[in-house]
Symmetry: C2
Subunit: 253 residues, 2 copies
């Protein structure tokens, strides 16, 4: 079980694992799993928001050069960040507030970020069966989808340059809090994520502040409290971004 | 700071980081740090116990073949496990109860384990400034030493085949609970470990059981509840194992 493919026997609950960092994701069998890419601050929150506000599609790419090249090719908006700020040569950043309906409706975004879009490509390279993206704004859509699909799941945290972070772990914990009766969870990282979420759930923002979460500190320095609060609040953009044919689109749950 | 060497400026508190898996330890600057190797179930608990019971030294090696070879060479006890059971060709296993004073006093052990001794060699290869081993039986000695030394610290969890585990994370959290006022902690993994410890500290054994920690489950199957309970209890073997000239010896705090 630990090394083989995750199989689902009729009547048995499917497995659920948590990878706390991209540097650990190779330990899990992605080819038989739905992989949820989690980059709470801010890539996957922004992806959900742009799609919720009517964007046609989001093309995740892993380099700024590729972002510019494809952006020109398909006449799309180029967006992304490196180290938390708009990357040089791109038009827009990684804030959900940059993508209101009035701006984004019907458009395609090409997006590159420090951690989230890179992890998505790792999941692709590792043959993930299905890739969706998760964040607090679309927590419910993700949970409903995973419950409906009833397949093995790997919750893959984007972390920060491979270092485990609090916010992605919290989101994994929030999913587990809803779905733990529906899955066979034999994963210590899942237990850790759930425990962390239970400690934090009364006020996620205050918890991040109290723990001096590194990306909280980084974004607060840029004056982005509003972004952090939005990205930690469930329900702001309840769509299901699913990766199909090279892009993320909103699909029915 | 994040990428450079961890420097300690006069009057400032030294840094403390937590690496939750050997697959993450390269992210931290070990060459300026005291590295605490943590393998609660059971390598570092057994190391503390054997030294507490009078063993002269413990030679950690990373393969069974090397264990047998060196054991013959220096006429030492060969000990170790693979996947939780005594490795073929070795005389003894990885239980602290195999090393009472009547057996181990004055002797040298050559030890190889699935995760802990491998991580120790990774720390060596990465040029760790100082290497000590930590476990609940010697929690206090470790904390006292780190407080006295007042140098940068990396708490390095051995995990299980690179997968993050609950018990090593709990031990990192227990250290942080004692030392957090003495260190400058800007590490999300440290925040996660501390939160986990706070949730578990009333009864670590019950917490491991409730969370169905993977190595708890594995050892319980082998009938090793007594080992687990000992390894989760502070004070059973309060020595400070320090790595010097190829071996772990007990040194004054």
């Amino acid at each position: 079980m630990e090394r083989g493919k995750y199989k689902k026997v009729a009547g048995e609950k499917p497995s659920l694992y948590v990878s706390l960092s991209p540097a650990l994701v190779h330990l899990y069998e992605l080819s038989s799993s739905i992989v949820v890419i989690i980059d709470v601050l801010r890539a996957t929150s922004t992806i959900a928001t742009a799609l919720h506000n009517g964007a046609k599609a989001i093309v995740p790419v892993d380099s700024v050069a590729e972002c510019i090249r494809i952006g020109k090719q398909i006449e799309a908006i180029t967006a992304g960040e490196r180290d938390g700020v708009v990357a040089e040569g791109l038009q827009h950043g990684n804030s959900p507030f940059e993508y209101p309906e009035s701006f984004v409706k019907g458009k395609t975004l090409v997006l590159t970020t420090t951690n989230g879009t890179k992890l998505l490509h790792m999941a692709l390279d590792n043959g993930a069966k299905e890739i969706i993206t998760g964040s607090f704004p679309n927590l419910q859509a993700v949970c409903d989808h995973l419950r409906n699909r009833n397949q093995p799941v790997v919750l893959a945290c984007a972390a920060w340059k491979d270092r485990v972070n609090i916010e992605d772990t919290l989101f994994a914990g929030a999913i587990i809090d809803q779905l733990r009766e529906h899955f066979d969870i034999r994963c210590d990282a899942a237990g850790i994520a759930h425990s962390l979420y239970l400690a934090a759930k009364e006020d996620l923002f205050e918890f991040m502040k109290e723990k001096q979460a590194s990306h909280y500190t980084r974004l607060m320095k840029y004056g982005l409290e509003k972004d952090i609060r939005f990205c930690l609040t469930p329900g702001g953009a309840n769509v299901l971004p699913s990766y199909r044919d090279g892009k993320l689109i909103s699909v029915p749950v």
